[in-house]
């Protein structure tokens, strides 16, 4: 059965985009931070949050192939639709990063090349920056020893090589998986089994790439905002947030489709298992978040605690509500079997968790990039969020219309239909 985008859904997505764009314009006009830093940071938050959802879905999809999981076979197209947003997400990410590279904003403080040289010759715009005390050189007031020590990793050419490598690899695999999935619809017998095994091997390969890239992209795109600070757990913590958002988005999308009368073969057991993933990944996130927090809190080293001081001192409400929404809410509300089988309830709690993870990204980005100009989530962030949400929903729903909503042929399709727990 094919999905058709109803007029109502189309007008809602476009309505969200227009409303969001208007709110963004109002927000940008009210943004008096230097270089419109606040607006750029808001763009970064939303770009990252939504590309994170599609990356989480791509990861989960590859994981299902690599572990030869049967029950998700019915839902393959849903995950494909979620990661079909990847090209758009990559584009918005590149826009933010390129603007930083061109010094249109200073979210990435380390992109300022003057930080890396101990001495300077001359003054103002004509100043030459040098590493040694040559004739006529004076101490460079901008010199930052901590950042200079990170030059081997944090320099623009290497940063761009990495960024383009991540996006290239992700886009390549996303396209490849989708093409294979569509190809499998036309095949039966031996060639189908062969293709499934090929998918299995390629998915395992992808997971190797993703294991490294999911950490390093979090360092590059998010952790380098607070350039002096570092945390070895940060990559996993960011990844857990993506993973949880993707699982939540998937279950909400499936429940929406079911409510519209699609996916008739998806039964309560599938829904409950998807709910379990939301529950489990929420715990994964909480575990990593808390591990990072506790180690830093316990050792109490000045260069590490700055990250949490900036957040606890200035945004205590945001800080604790993120932890509360993303940990306590799923733990208490999604623990029982009945809760995970109740569509309305699951959609409600899922939406709350998505907002929680969005706020988590806000809290990762804002204190380091906007600092004292950030007084809490306002029209700028929310407006951009709505615009991105509209765009994301449109891309995802549109991708759902392109192929049969459940795969036609797959060795595990029969098993998936009879999934029962």
């Amino acid at each position: 059965m094919n999905f058709t985008l109803s007029n109502r859904a189309r007008s809602i997505t476009f309505g969200l985009m227009i409303l969001g764009a208007l709110a963004t314009v109002v927000g940008v006009m009210g943004d008096h931070s230097e270089h419109h830093q606040h607006s750029w940071a808001s763009l970064l938050i939303n770009s990252f949050f939504f590309i994170g959802i599609s990356l989480g879905a791509l990861f989960f999809y590859a994981l299902q192939n690599a572990t030869e999981t049967a029950w998700t076979v019915l839902l393959k197209r849903v995950y494909e639709a979620i990661y079909s947003y990847l090209p758009v997400g990559a584009l918005t990410m590149v826009v933010v990063l390129a603007a930083g590279s061109m010094h249109m904003h200073h979210i990435y403080h380390w992109m300022d090349h003057t930080l890396y040289h101990e001495f300077m010759v001359g003054e103002g715009h004509d100043a030459q920056y040098v590493d040694e005390a040559i004739q006529g050189a004076v101490a460079n007031p901008n010199y930052d020893e901590l950042i200079a020590n990170k030059k081997a990793f944090l320099n623009q050419p290497f940063f761009w090589i990495r960024t383009l490598l991540y996006l290239g690899v992700f886009l390549y695999f996303a396209r490849w998986f989708r093409a294979q999935s569509l190809q499998m619809d036309k095949e039966t017998g031996d060639s189908l089994v062969k293709r499934t095994l090929l998918n299995y091997r390629r998915s395992a390969l992808f997971l190797v790439f993703f294991a490294v890239f999911s950490s390093t992209l979090a360092w590059d795109w998010i952790m380098s905002i607070d350039t002096h600070w570092f945390s070895t757990l940060f990559g996993w913590y960011v990844f857990a947030g993506m993973f949880c958002s993707a699982m939540t988005t998937a279950v909400i999308l499936v429940l929406y489709l079911k409510r519209k009368g699609y996916l008739p073969q998806v039964n309560n057991s599938h829904i409950q298992d998807m709910g379990k993933w939301v529950f489990a990944t929420s715990f994964l996130w909480s575990y990593l978040y808390f591990s990072q927090f506790m180690l830093i809190w316990y050792s109490n080293i000045p260069e590490e605690v700055t990250y949490f001081m900036a957040r606890i001192d200035h945004h205590p409400m945001l800080m604790w509500s993120v932890f509360f929404i993303n940990f306590a809410v799923p733990m208490v509300l999604l623990m029982s079997r009945d809760a995970k089988r109740n569509p309305r309830f699951l959609i409600g709690v899922g939406s709350l968790i998505l907002i929680g993870h969005w706020l988590d990204v806000v809290l990762m980005v804002m204190p380091g990039s906007v600092g004292h100009d950030f007084h809490g989530v306002g029209i700028l962030e929310v407006g951009m969020f709505l615009a991105f949400l509209g765009m994301f929903l449109y891309v995802v729903l549109n991708s759902l219309t392109k192929a049969p909503l459940t795969v036609v042929n797959h060795p595990y399709l029969e098993e998936s239909i009879h999934h029962q727990i």
């Binding site: 808390f290 506790m294 316990y298 109490n300 029982s336 079997r337």
Partner: protein, 177 residues
């Protein structure tokens, strides 16, 4: 009239399920089934109520959390406060992050052990308990339905065995008890 227990022995779990369905649809109450491995989907057929083990596990977990916090409070705050890493132990809530790992582990410990022990007691399979399985072949390759006449006053033993015979049964055994 003496109470009888009747065992219908099947060679295949699907045949057992069909047999159980037939018995239940004719109003016979099935006491239990015995099989070498869990039979998927048998519970709703013979009317086994959903397990409440999850609720028990939750209770054990909460007990573990409370015990852990109580213990930590007594050892580290009340009885012998210590200054570790510049964090003097003055109040439980101030040092809570340091105590969370222990609390978490103890919660898991209590939930897991409590759940296993409850399960073994409830199934009467604690180590050393006599086996309740009526026929050793049900641990190998036979699948057995147990019906008691004391549960089925509306049916005579003959009627029940006749019903069983109409299913693909391997053999039928009766026993007085």
């Amino acid at each position: 009239m003496a109470n009888k227990v009747i065992y219908a022995v099947y060679e295949d779990p699907e045949q057992l399920k069909d047999g159980a369905r037939k018995l239940v649809s004719n109003g016979v109450k099935v006491k239990d089934t015995f099989s070498p491995f869990p039979i998927h989907g048998i519970d709703p057929i013979i009317g086994v109520k959903r397990t409440r083990l999850a609720i028990a596990a939750f209770m054990f977990g909460i007990t573990g959390t409370c015990l852990a916090l109580l213990g930590i409070w007594y050892f580290n705050i009340f009885d012998w406060p210590m200054n570790i890493g510049g964090k003097p132990s003055q109040a439980l809530y101030k040092n809570l992050p340091a105590f969370i790992p222990v609390t978490f582990e103890f919660t898991v410990l209590c939930a897991a052990h409590g759940m296993v022990i409850t399960y073994l007691i409830r199934n009467k399979t604690l180590p050393g308990m006599p086996a309740r399985n009526p026929d050793p072949r049900s641990t190998d390759d036979k699948f057995i339905i147990e019906v008691r006449t004391s549960d089925n006053h509306g049916h005579s033993a003959e009627a029940i065995t006749d019903l069983m015979r109409s299913t693909p049964v391997f053999e039928i055994n009766e026993r007085q008890y």
